[in-house]
Amino acid sequence: MKYGSIFKSLGVILLTLCASMLIPTIYAAFSSMAELKAFGLSMGITFAIGLAMALSPKSNLNMDYRDGFVVVTFGWFFSAACGALPYVISGSVAGFTDGFFESMSGFTTTGSSIMTNIEGLQPSILLWRSMTQWLGGMGIIVLTIAILPYLDLGGMSIFQAEVPGPTAEKLTPRIQDTAKFLWLVYTMLTLAQIIALKLADMSWFDSVNHSLATMATGGFSTKNASVAGFNSPLIEWIITFFMIMAGVNFALHYQFFFRGFKPKSYFEDTEFKFYLFLTLASAAVIALFLFLGAGHPIEKSLRDAAFTVASIVTTTGFGTADYELWAVLPQFILMFLMLVGGSAGSTAGGIKTVRILLVFKYMHVEMLKLIHPNLVRSIKIRNTSVQPKVVAGILSFLFVYTSVLMGSILIVSINAPDMLTAIGSVIACLSNIGPGFGTVGPTENFAHLSALTKWVLSIDMAMGRLELLTVLVLFLPQTWMK
């Protein structure tokens, strides 16, 4: 362990966080003195800790994989802790547990909230909430596209093929270039959405907040009723579109925007096609249920189905309709989509469509092997074969995912109000969705849960966000041994 370098990296992360707090601070300066004080104090504390860590002497040796895991995991936890300060100090939340939950929910782009009256909060606090999601999304893009593939976690190296440019040998110089371009795409899409929402008659403040939350697939809104509070079909369609965009691998966006706007950048990608198919098919089925079963008007059925499916599959978690009032099949489709999640290399959480796709292909080959015992068949994606160790990584990832899910449900059920809430809240947090089922549905929030549950869910959010193994590897004694 190169503690010096680890501290230094974490310090730099915190200093960046401190700098970004400047924006809500300035905003507060024009609106409310109480919040200004809270932000000022938070910035001071964050700066002090960050500086202290950043000043620690650099280790002699270069950082290796193990140090990378430590930096990534603790980076998220430290950010969440410091990001919670404005909520706690300003008194917007009841205590540090709630503040940490809210902040972790932001940085992991989950969107689960313990705020009961969002509209009663100061605008600067709301802005900070949205900003944590946007910053978290930024971190995730770089993490999943530029860093994790080289660590090969849970079959992550398959994404390497999709990454434009860099190869494993040229890791350091190219990672920065890749990150720069991806951030540029991320920012461009966010700006595009801000303008689109503004044109749809949203206020600047609301459109900025919603855009920050959409591109990060976060789901923090400025309204108690989430996006439904605007009562505007146009706004809902715009957000639907950008949610779907946010659930696409950003490497594909990069190819589209920087390699001549060719639609084939998207449509030649197997995962994209699968993701799109999944989204459209689910939306169609649910719309049919709403139209025929519940007797909603056709446009509203389509809109609600499309919005909700996009919101769930991309793990954003905005709400326009209370899906808990729908028939059982649509609810189950949504629950499965919660587990599946968006594309790899996007800001979406969940298991990721590419993993599901590969597991299906793996199953197909295994069945073929029953008929042809001597069969040798490689699993292919985009006409290139996937290494067996990648497939093994994905299978183990699925198992770890299920185990963590079940373990968390067990702990949460110690004092959960009912079974559905226990299951729904854990899925919602582990897959970084936001709203779950039961008493944490789209119209409710997480405020009533016990402190233990909130801590477990906070950790679930971080684990789900960091592809589980990044966090779990820290529990291996070998990680800490010389």
């Binding site: 042809h372 015992p373 001597n374 069969l375 040798v376 068949r377 490689s378 292919k380 006409n383 074969s385």
Partner: protein
């Protein structure tokens, strides 16, 4: 022609056998004294024991005025270097055998000019192509491509259900010409003849057709070889030949199973191929093969590196009921041995295939492609007409071709036509001509004579 053959291995030996019949001056170079000895005993060949990449070799006087230089040792690198050195020493044309350079067979004009290589041939591709042909056109006896793969000369065995039996050649050629098929020769009771318009097609004739390469399927239908069922093909061995063959078959209408004993080759094939089932098993494992449905297979090709495995697995497959079992064998003795075996449909020696392929280069610049009709003294040449040749602008009727020589097809820019009496040859035309082997010199002179005269005048 003055020909130098560097590398007197099996390919060289076969090539020399083909060449020495035709009055060429041949010089074989090899480092193995014994091989050269054997060679000079059998054929009328001059031999030199030398390292072919030795710089001294090319300063020797006997390499002056060489027309063709074949670099056909077993080493790609040696061949490439030797070709380049030969070119620098003033050899007119170099032909290089290279296994690792992937060259589609159809592209006979592919060259690496900068390296001094005029033609490159990849024996793996050549063999794979030969096998591919056998699968794509079953019941065909042989075939050869002209005009870079646009036109094919293909021989078919006429079975009883063919629709053309009992019809006159003249009538058939008129009827088929709209579809660009043309009957060139037919072989009956071991004798090959150029048919007249009144000859009648009989059962068991072998008829050679000229047709567009993409029309072979249609021609087969015309002959009654109608098959709508998918053919099932087993390939034993996924080494270089097996893999190249499987690659070619990807676009064909076949059900492919590839058997290989080496796991690594299995993985490679399954990674690279989008079609076909790759099985990791022994090609002689009869039980396993039966489980994979060998009984219903149409083709079984054994293309491993081991002659014995190929022979045995083909025999086993033949016994299991596969009709077309094709075995690759390197030992020339085995080829004749398998020729009469009831369970082996065909034995192919990759080296003689390569040698046959190489012999197309020995006809100088004017002949761009060449094929002999098996079992006869006839050959089919693809010829360029020299500019200002005396045969230009003369109608077919007045053209004084030597006896027994026929122009089958004229290629004019991108079109082709079957010549009729009134047609006239134009500059830039290319011809497919059928003739007796003995007449070749005369025919070539006929099409290029005036050009030669011009040259003489200049001198």
């Amino acid at each position: 022609l003055k020909v130098v053959i560097a590398g007197a291995g099996e390919v060289g030996f076969n090539l020399i056998e083909n060449l020495s019949r035709e009055n060429n001056k041949i010089l074989a170079i090899d480092t193995d004294e014994q091989v050269l000895q054997r060679l000079s005993e059998v054929n009328n060949v001059a031999t030199v024991r030398h390292n072919i990449t030795d710089t001294h070799l090319f300063s020797e006087s006997f390499l002056k005025d060489v027309d063709l230089f074949f670099a056909i040792t077993n080493s790609d690198e040696t061949n490439l270097i030797a070709s380049q050195m030969a070119k620098e020493a003033g050899v007119k044309k170099t032909i290089c055998r290279a296994m690792k350079i992937s060259v589609p067979v159809e592209k006979t004009d592919f060259s690496l000019e900068a390296l001094g290589v005029d033609h490159i041939i990849n024996p793996i591709e050549v063999v794979a192509n030969e096998l591919y042909r056998l699968i794509e056109a079953p019941n065909s006896v042989h075939s050869h491509d002209f005009f870079k793969g646009k036109i094919t000369l293909i021989g078919f065995h006429i079975k009883e259900h063919a629709r053309i039996i009992g019809k006159k050649i003249g009538y058939l050629n008129r009827e088929l010409s709209s579809r660009k098929f043309h009957i060139v020769t037919f072989q009956r009771e071991g004798r090959t003849i150029l048919p007249g318009p009144d000859d009648v097609v009989k059962k068991n004739d072998i008829i050679n057709f000229i047709c567009p390469s993409d029309g072979i399927r249609e021609l087969r239908r015309e002959l009654g070889y109608n098959r709508t069922k998918k053919r099932r093909v087993f390939i034993n061995g996924s080494g270089r030949v097996g893999f190249a063959l499987a690659r070619k078959l990807e676009d064909s209408d076949v059900k492919l199973k590839i058997i290989c004993r080496k796991k690594q080759n299995c993985f490679h094939s399954s990674d690279e191929l989008s079609k076909g089932i790759v099985l990791h098993m022994d090609g002689t494992d009869t039980k396993g093969l039966v489980a994979e449905g060998i009984n219903g297979a149409d083709y079984f090709l054994s293309v491993t590196n081991d002659d014995h495995v190929n022979m045995v697995s083909c025999m086993l497959a033949g016994e299991a009921g596969v009709k077309y079992t094709i075995s690759l064998v390197k030992q020339p003795e085995y080829v004749s041995m398998l020729a009469n075996h009831p369970d082996v449909y065909l034995a192919i020696s990759p080296r003689s295939v390569t040698a046959r392929y190489l012999s197309r280069y020995i006809h100088g610049d004017q002949v761009t492609s060449y094929s002999s009709i098996p079992g006869s003294q006839l050959e089919v040449l693809e010829i360029k007409i020299n500019k200002g040749s005396s045969c230009l602008n003369v109608s077919m009727k007045q053209l004084k071709l030597p006896e027994g020589v026929r122009i089958i097809l004229i290629k004019r820019k991108e079109n082709w036509l079957f010549p009729e009496e009134g047609d006239v040859l134009k500059p830039e035309d290319q011809l497919i001509v059928i003739l007796h082997k003995m007449d070749r010199g005369e025919v070539l002179r006929f099409f290029q004579q005036p050009a030669d005269e011009i040259k003489e005048q200049e001198q």
